[in-house]
Amino acid sequence: MKLSSVISARFDTPDSQSIETYRKDGGYETYLQVLKGEKGSPDDIVAAIKASGLRGRGGAGFSTGMKWSFVPKNVDKPKYLCVNGDESEPGTFKDRQILEFDPHALIEGVGITCWTIGAERGYIYLRCEFKKGIATVQKAIDEAYAAGLFGEDVQGSGRTIHVSLTVGAGAYICGEETSLLNSIEGVRPYPRNKPPFPAVEGLFGCPTIINNVETITNIPHIVKRGAEWYAGLGCKDDPGSRLWCVSGHVKRPGVYEAETGFRLQELIDEHCGGMRGGKKLKCVIPGGSSSKVLLPDEVAQVTMDTPGIRKFGSSLGSAGIIVLDEDTCMVDAVLNLMKFYAHESCGQCTPCREGTPWVVQVLQRIRDGKGRLVDLELLDDIAKNMEGRTVCALADGACWPLTSILKKFRHEFVAKIPGAEKGAREVATA
């Protein structure tokens, strides 16, 4: 496999964050063309984005062009764009690179998107832990304003486009699009019930588009080079070039950009230098912590694109590839994950608020050697009662790794349960 460089093309450029180097590299040209209408009407751009096959990079993988087309026309309410930079999925750290190394690419994307969907203001929502990113983006925004790229009647286009930075307090739930809206509005960031979808009734009750940082960063490239070029990258059904975050027990963890459709095994072996310490691979969580786990034989076969990974029941998510080696205790691993979800549950819906801590309590008991065999069924049952019963997908995201690990590594759980091995073997052979 080959690494690509679309988004990450300027990461190595010295002083890549400044507007001078960005414009030197051809930045903001597309934006200015769009403002002048040289790239066609908003509908044309939406059609182009649709045609490019760009999928949201935040985790759900919904078609970006499709999402944009949901914004109702002919409403007199203002419209908004929110850029979700609350990168909080465990194992995901791609947006940070963009924010820190190429903020102007993001800002240009915000400008183009705002123009396309008719929004007056684009909010870039970052978590407070991104200290460096916040500073970089703020500086870039200031530079863009100084260059006259935003404001009222931008470049004589007759359109008002603002971009502003909003910093959250760093809650995982704020990465959920509707609670992000609540967070921007200044109320407690509980996810909202859908419908109505944000595209119809979002920020301050107005039509709002929420996209991931990486998605928006892709927009200038697509508009500049055309939908066909982008659709030709990578896999046919899920085209494009993505940032892949590899973490865990590999020799060289980090962010890799590659076109979709490569084989996961190759990424691990060729580019990440294989397993750390020559250990054997135990499993991979392929798309941030909220996706289902893949076993080594699955890793060997899977191709990294939405249809390819769906064959193995998992998802690409936010492209956070967590690689675990043979020494990992899966009980500890899943407990660690569940503690995260229990801690980050917002507490709005009953099943998630009560279910996630319960799972943690049961897992802790199993880890401490005080588990019972019925606890495994209990965990499954709790997961079943949580899944699909809540406002947002946090509970679902907690259930998927739990149930998949519980299913695929059941023997490790059984081994922790005193006196249960014999009984379990009998069950297994029966």
């Binding site: 503690k339 943690v360 309590q361 802790q364 005080k370």
Partner: protein, 193 residues
């Protein structure tokens, strides 16, 4: 379905009834010479079993805490309406361990002239605070004396160690509710059961 049992048709001999009466007389006469089985009460005392249903009493646990929280379920279930409870706030100075209990009976009356010793109060009590004791000698000079008040009920009930103590030791773990404990990972702060 009801089962019909035909009445036994009496023979003429049976219909005389006299033989039956004679045999009855024989039975009762024989009985006169059986040994007496009477307990000579004031001198001899009956054996009181654990599940004997004598006068109900309120109990304290091993810490001397009154277990009754005046939920008034016994008052509700009591068939002859012998129980009257005046609920109220737990008294000041309740120990920290038990601060979850906010309620205690301000007064607790059982009218022993009404009590039918059915034991429902003991059965329904969710706190195991009221027990039917072995106390069976109740006499008094006035009706009022047989309306047992809280003081008397605790005298009757006395102390009964509580193996469960469900209210105890909750507050000292205010911050150790399992999942909250990310900082002290693996320190065994949570005991599970």
């Amino acid at each position: 379905m009801a089962k019909v049992v035909d009445r036994h048709k009496l023979t003429w001999y049976e219909e005389l009834y006299l033989p039956a009466i004679a045999s009855g007389l024989k039975r009762t006469f024989r009985q006169m010479f059986q040994p007496d089985i009477t307990l000579q009460y004031p001198e001899e005392r009956p054996q009181i079993y654990d599940d004997y249903r004598g006068a109900p009493g309120l109990v304290r646990d091993q810490d001397g805490r009154e277990k009754c929280v005046s939920c008034q379920l016994c008052e509700y279930i009591c068939p002859p309406k012998a129980i009257v409870i005046v609920p109220g706030e737990a008294p000041e100075g309740a120990t920290y361990d038990y601060s979850h209990i906010e309620k205690a009976p301000r007064e607790f009356f059982i009218d022993m002239l009404r009590c039918i010793y059915c034991g429902y109060c003991e059965e329904i009590c969710p706190e195991q605070a009221i027990f039917m004791t072995g106390e069976y000698e109740l006499n008094a000079g006035s009706r009022q004396e047989l309306v047992h008040d809280k003081k008397r009920l605790y005298e009757i009930g006395g102390l009964r160690p509580d193996p469960i103590q469900k209210w105890k030791g909750k507050d000292d773990r205010l911050d150790a509710g399992g999942f909250t404990d990310l900082r002290k990972r693996g320190a065994g702060a949570e005991e599970g059961e």
